[in-house]
């Protein structure tokens, strides 16, 4: 092994390696786990080594988590639930769920 620290922002070395531009270009797909296995590994390796790219990763990750968190607690209002059950019953559905008026 070489004693010289690797510069991850240098042109990629080896098959599948990515530089900063490539890592950032694929950042959302990486966070969404939509890259192929090799792509996931390449971006993961780059982020682990690159102090310049990691804050971008950190920010985008927090941003996506915030989107999910701000909406996932929205529930169907009780009225909507009642309307659905009533409509289904009119169509012949027999439910164990009681509709409270």
């Amino acid at each position: 092994m070489s004693d010289v620290p690797q510069d991850p922002c240098a042109p990629p070395v080896g098959p599948g390696a990515v530089d900063c531009a490539m890592a950032l270009e694929q950042l959302w797909e990486y966070l969404d786990a939509e890259l192929a296995t090799e792509g996931m590994q390449a971006v993961r390796t780059h982020l682990a080594l690159c102090a310049k790219c990691y804050p971008h990763y950190d920010f985008e990750k927090a941003f996506l988590e915030a989107i999910a968190a701000c909406q996932c607690t929205t529930c169907a209002p009780h009225d909507v639930r009642c309307h659905v059950i009533e409509a289904l019953r009119r169509a012949g559905f027999c439910s164990a769920e009681k509709v409270e008026n």
Partner: protein
């Protein structure tokens, strides 16, 4: 062909246990499409009625939520067609809107720093409500409902590349709206020269 009473009970029971638990998810998706609670109520009713009538076609063991989202999307489109109400932007308009967003003058780092100082919850809810179609449905399906690109493509009836493009542009639009919100709220400081023109994420299409 009419079902026997026992078959009907099984039909209803499986529908109740597999389809009804996703009512909150379907409502959120319907609300993201309509941006109106009364319209979402109608779409959810329509979705569940259609799902109930077609329940015999649902492949047991497959993803009921994805199936319901697809029905919901189709119900929304039919409602929109009936009302002759143009909500969704045409592709040309989409490109025009996106072009205003995609180039953010290389200040991604300053915007990122700015947004970290913001309580994202309320601002994001507001921004999502203002996000135009077709970006909103892509963001809702993938980021809120945790659907894969492939599932979102199936639900929306578009190629995966289109989902990716709409999703990434929707996210960029949200970030831009949040940045403007932060600046309006006085949270932002003027962009200074300290901000290095770092590499900006430009997700490919």
């Amino acid at each position: 062909m009419a079902l026997t009473p026992a078959e009907q009970r099984e039909y209803d029971s499986s529908f109740e246990s597999e389809a009804l638990p996703w009512l909150d998810d379907v409502y959120r998706f319907a609300l993201s499409l309509t941006r109106n609670e009364a319209d979402a109520d109608d779409i959810v009713q329509e979705t569940y009625l259609r799902a109930y009538r077609s329940w015999h076609t649902f492949e047991r063991g497959s993803d009921a939520r994805r199936w319901l989202f697809t029905i919901c999307r189709n119900a929304f489109l039919r409602t929109r067609e009936r009302a002759r109400h143009q909500v969704e932007l045409e592709d040309g308009d989409v490109e025009a809107v996106a072009s205003q967003v995609s180039e953010n003058s290389g200040s991604a780092s300053s915007d990122e720093r700015l947004l970290t100082r913001l309580d994202l919850g309320p601002a994001l809810s507001q921004a999502l409500g203002q996000l135009a179609e077709p970006f909103r449905s892509a963001v809702t399906l993938v980021d809120v409902e945790d659907q894969s690109y492939e599932a979102a493509a199936e639900i929306l009836g578009v190629p995966i590349g289109t989902v990716r493009s709409r999703l990434f542009r929707g996210r960029r639009l949200l970030q831009q709206m949040l940045t403007e919100y932060a600046r309006d709220a006085g949270i932002a400081t003027p962009i200074t020269a300290e901000v290095a023109p770092d590499a900006t994420p430009h997700p490919h299409r």
